[in-house]
């Protein structure tokens, strides 16, 4: 108690000096936690969107399709679907068929990709489609991007013919009707994708009961690894199960790079801040050289002096980071409920494409409570502050007491 009292009072002997350091530590803890929680919120959002848009938490592909995207690499889904329906860990699963095609018009042909899916099922949850508030009135209805509509020259309810190869390799025409024209935030989708009903495409192109992909949404994404492993035991032939980490390597590495960048910046900031702490403690120790000399004359040994200065570093670091933590938690309450709207910023810096690592990002970032990071950022600077005390303590302990007292 007496040590802490002494440390606390010693810190505040120079209010300006310690006050500045207090604000620096407090500020960096605050920034560290807020950015960390925002970043994780963003990652969670990205993963979530990517998972719903693409391959789910766990996806089933033919290995050949996974590696080469060869259109012929489809597989029969009937048995797998039955299996999935009986597993309580599965929230939902979607079948998809991806077919390259041409839109045939008088003005020429336009290459497109048909993403065929159970439109009725997927429209409410698919990140690109969920705000449509539209239900296809028939199986021939498709959704296309604004850009494609403009290029091809169609408007809602127009009919058009798409040319694609069927399962046997014969070119075949499919008659579809434009159900909805949407301005997609991703250019590649806006210009060149047709969302169509999977049964309709299967019937037309003779892909009976076959898919390129079954995308599985789990109730708890943390069981993805285990679930995928189990699936692989039951799957036969070249059909395999992949977790989202395996199927979206690009996204995983984008997140890893982004997070490493954040960690690196924060580490750099923390080191600079700690050099500041060393400096503050050094000046404080130098200001009271005589006083510490007296303490050593009275019988304090180098261990006592170490403890004294260590506690000064620790209480300055501890107090500052505690205040930073509290402010960050308050901010995070706001950011996790209301979120941070970056849409203006995105429009300003990146045009209209809000994509990152091949994934569309929601311009409203909601932070999450990532406790490992919250605790980590708070505690780490306290540890560094304690370590910072080592240098001034070593310096004063090496001085000769008799010399100090003579002055």
């Amino acid at each position: 108690m007496i040590w802490l009292k002494l440390a606390w009072r010693n810190i505040w002997r120079n209010k300006i000096r310690s006050g500045i350091q207090f604000m620096l530590i407090c500020g960096s803890v605050y920034l560290g936690i807020v950015f960390h929680c925002l970043a994780f919120g963003n990652y969670k959002n990205m993963i979530d969107q990517a998972v719903r848009m693409g391959s789910g938490h766990v996806a089933i592909y033919d290995t050949l399709w996974f590696k080469t995207r060869k259109t012929s690499a489809v597989f029969d889904t009937k048995n797998i679907k039955r299996f999935l329906s009986n597993d309580s860990r599965v929230e939902k699963f979607y079948e998809r068929l991806y077919i390259p095609a041409f839109v045939q018009r008088v003005s020429g042909g336009y290459p497109v990709n048909i993403i065929s899916m159970d439109l009725k099922e997927e429209i409410p949850t698919h990140p690109l489609l969920k705000n449509l508030e539209w239900k296809p009135e028939g199986k021939e209805y498709v959704i296309i991007g604004k850009e494609l509509a403009k290029k091809v020259g169609v408007s809602t309810n127009d009919r058009m013919v798409i040319l694609a190869r069927d399962f046997y390799g014969e070119v075949s025409g499919i008659l579809v009707r434009v159900g909805r024209i949407v301005e997609f935030p991703l250019k590649e989708i806006d210009c060149c994708v047709i969302f169509a009903d999977i049964d309709y495409i299967r019937d037309n192109l003779h892909y009976n009961g076959k898919s390129h992909e079954i995308s599985i949404i789990l109730r708890d994404m943390r069981v993805a690894d285990k679930f995928s492993k189990e699936m692989n035991k039951t799957l036969i032939g070249s059909v395999k199960s992949y977790t989202w980490k395996e199927s979206m390597k690009e996204l995983v590495s984008a997140i890893t790079i982004d997070y490493s960048g954040l960690i690196l910046i924060m580490l750099f900031l923390y080191i600079i801040i700690s050099v500041g702490t060393i400096n503050v403690l050094f000046m404080s120790v130098m200001d009271r050289t005589t006083e510490i000399g007296v303490l050593r004359a009275l019988g304090l040994d180098s261990k006592h002096i170490n403890v004294m200065i260590f506690l000064e570093g620790l209480s300055l670091g501890g107090f500052s980071s505690l205040v930073g933590l509290i402010l960050a938690l308050i901010t995070n309450i706001y950011l996790s409920t209301r979120g941070l709207d970056l849409s203006t910023l995105y429009r300003f810096v990146g045009g209209e494409s809000w994509s990152y690592g091949g994934v569309m990002i929601n311009p409203v970032i909601r932070s999450v409570w990532e406790w490992k990071g919250i605790v980590g950022y708070t505690v780490f600077i306290v540890i560094l502050s304690g370590i910072a005390s080592y240098f001034p303590a070593r310096w004063i302990n090496r001085l000769n007491v008799a010399e100090i007292l003579r002055k």
């Binding site: 007496i2 009292k5 002494l6 009072r9 010693n10 002997r13 005589t290 006083e291 007296v294 303490l295 050593r296 004359a297 009275l298 019988g299 304090l300 040994d301 180098s302 261990k303 006592h304 007491v401 008799a402 007292l405 003579r406």
Partner: protein, 228 residues
């Protein structure tokens, strides 16, 4: 019983070309319960002598004994322990810890000695009462006059029940009134608690109150006076 014994102790300082024999082949015995003044002009080696006795300074030659044990060969941490538990210190410039109150200054020593909290409280009250400075308990050093600070410093020096108190020119910064008060308090502690005192001074009035006066000149004992 011998509390301090020096045998042929020398301490040499070099400042530039010059070699100074601050303490020069000095031998000395001080017994328990003595009240000793070390006197001499500035530069005669008083501070160096006291520092050698407390182990703050190591002699270049000779042996230093404290309570019968040789201490000039002890490592730094052992000397600290010895100073903390067996010695008290009074300085010319009081040197109270400015961030601690009078009471806390004294308590800090007891705390480091490992005295339990309730016992600390009792001992501090006792000693502050004894010295008649109870009203100063909760004052910070800057809220006290020089004389008051030095009396608190005396309390700090003796609260840990030391064998000996070493006081280097304790009255040099005080007026004669306060000087007399400080010396008489030291004497009271010497008489009633049996604590050995060695203090240095160059004030003739102050040294008169000592029972034994050691005159120092150029690091050597010039003469000794004893009163009974």
């Amino acid at each position: 019983m011998e509390i301090v014994k020096l045998e042929g102790v020398s301490k040499v300082f070099k400042s530039g070309e010059e070699i100074i024999n601050a303490v020069d082949d000095l031998s000395l015995v001080i017994n328990r319960g003595e009240f000793v003044a070390v006197v001499g002009p500035s530069g005669s080696g008083k501070t160096t002598l006291l520092n050698i006795i407390s182990g703050i300074e190591k002699p270049d030659e000779g042996k230093v004994f404290f309570l019968g044990h040789r201490i000039d060969t002890l490592p730094e941490n052992k000397l600290s322990e010895l100073r903390l538990n067996k010695m008290g210190f009074i300085f010319q410039t009081y040197n109270l810890i400015p961030t601690l109150t009078a009471k806390e200054n004294a308590e800090f020593i007891l705390f480091l000695q490992g005295v339990p909290a309730s016992e600390r409280e009792r001992r501090i009250r006792e000693i502050f009462d004894f010295l008649g400075i109870s009203e100063l308990l909760d004052r910070f050093p800057k809220q006290m006059s020089g004389g008051q600070q030095q009396r608190v410093a005396i309390a700090r020096a003796v609260v840990g029940k030391p064998e000996i108190v070493l006081a280097d020119e304790p009255t040099a910064n005080l007026d004669s009134e306060n000087s007399k008060k400080v010396i008489s308090l030291m004497k009271k502690l010497n008489k009633e608690m049996g604590i050995t005192f060695i203090f240095s001074t160059h004030d003739p009035l102050i040294m008169e109150s000592a029972e034994r006066i050691i005159h120092l000149r150029d690091g050597k004992i010039l003469k000794e006076e004893r009163k009974d």
